[in-house]
């Protein structure tokens, strides 16, 4: 079946602009995760959804970052007033449920803030 998809695959924006990154999880997966990965680093946890609610948003770096999952499926990560330091690959993953540990990752969105 279809895996996790993310759009766009690449996004170039200017400092100060607003961006939205989309994640389509595997159908039926109730848990959804956002991570950020900088060059040469491991992924860094941002936020975790169980269903429609954010079960853990402790990884969001500041209030410029926000994510939603209004219908418990597709999720959007929103970044306001982008900064050059936000440049990274944003990864989305999903799992069957909160106690299903294996996460399935999308290909990521490469964000470049000029």
């Amino acid at each position: 079946g279809a895996g996790v998809s993310q759009t766009p695959s690449n996004k170039v924006t200017e400092k100060g602009k607003y961006v939205e990154l989309r994640c389509d999880p595997i159908s039926g997966h109730t848990a959804l995760y956002w991570y950020r990965q900088s060059l040469g680093q491991g992924p860094e946890f941002l936020i975790y959804f169980q269903g429609t609610g954010a079960a853990d948003d402790s990884g969001l770096p500041n209030d410029r970052f926000f994510a939603v999952r209004p219908e418990g499926s597709v999720s959007t990560l929103k970044i306001q007033r982008t900064e050059r330091g936000d440049s990274a690959v944003y990864l989305c993953a999903s799992s069957e449920g909160p106690h299903q540990e294996t996460q399935y990752f999308g290909p990521g969105t490469r964000l470049l803030v000029l």
Binding site: Q41, F45, Y48
Partner: protein, 108 residues
């Protein structure tokens, strides 16, 4: 903050050789997972070992876990050029906490 630390940071071997990567972590865990990443994208789950397990096999992969030393190792036997990738360990705290990865190059 990162939980795991993989060792070595980079490894270069010839096809057919075995590759061993190590991971150390800081806090108690429920399980530890290994993932592979090609070309900076596309993380793929390889294997999960639970805290009450000591060794697990999957095809050419062998994972060990020593909770007393807070460490794990991943062995890839009979390596292939297609195994060239970065390998990460991640510990489960509902959200995965990741190390910096080992970059493996398998030369034909």
């Amino acid at each position: 903050s990162q939980q795991g630390e993989e060792d070595p940071q980079a490894l270069s071997i010839q096809e057919g050789e075995n590759a061993t990567m190590n991971c150390s972590y800081k806090t108690s865990i429920n399980n530890l997972q290994w993932y592979r990443q090609n070309s900076g994208r596309g993380l793929v789950h390889l294997i999960l070992i639970r805290s009450n397990e000591r060794e697990k096999h999957s095809g050419r992969l062998r994972v060990t876990l020593d909770t007393s030393k807070k460490s794990s190792s991943l062995l890839i036997t009979a390596s292939r050029a297609a195994d060239t990738a970065s390998y990460f360990c991640a510990t489960d705290d509902r959200k995965l906490i990741w190390g910096l990865g080992t970059s493996l190059a398998v030369n034909p």
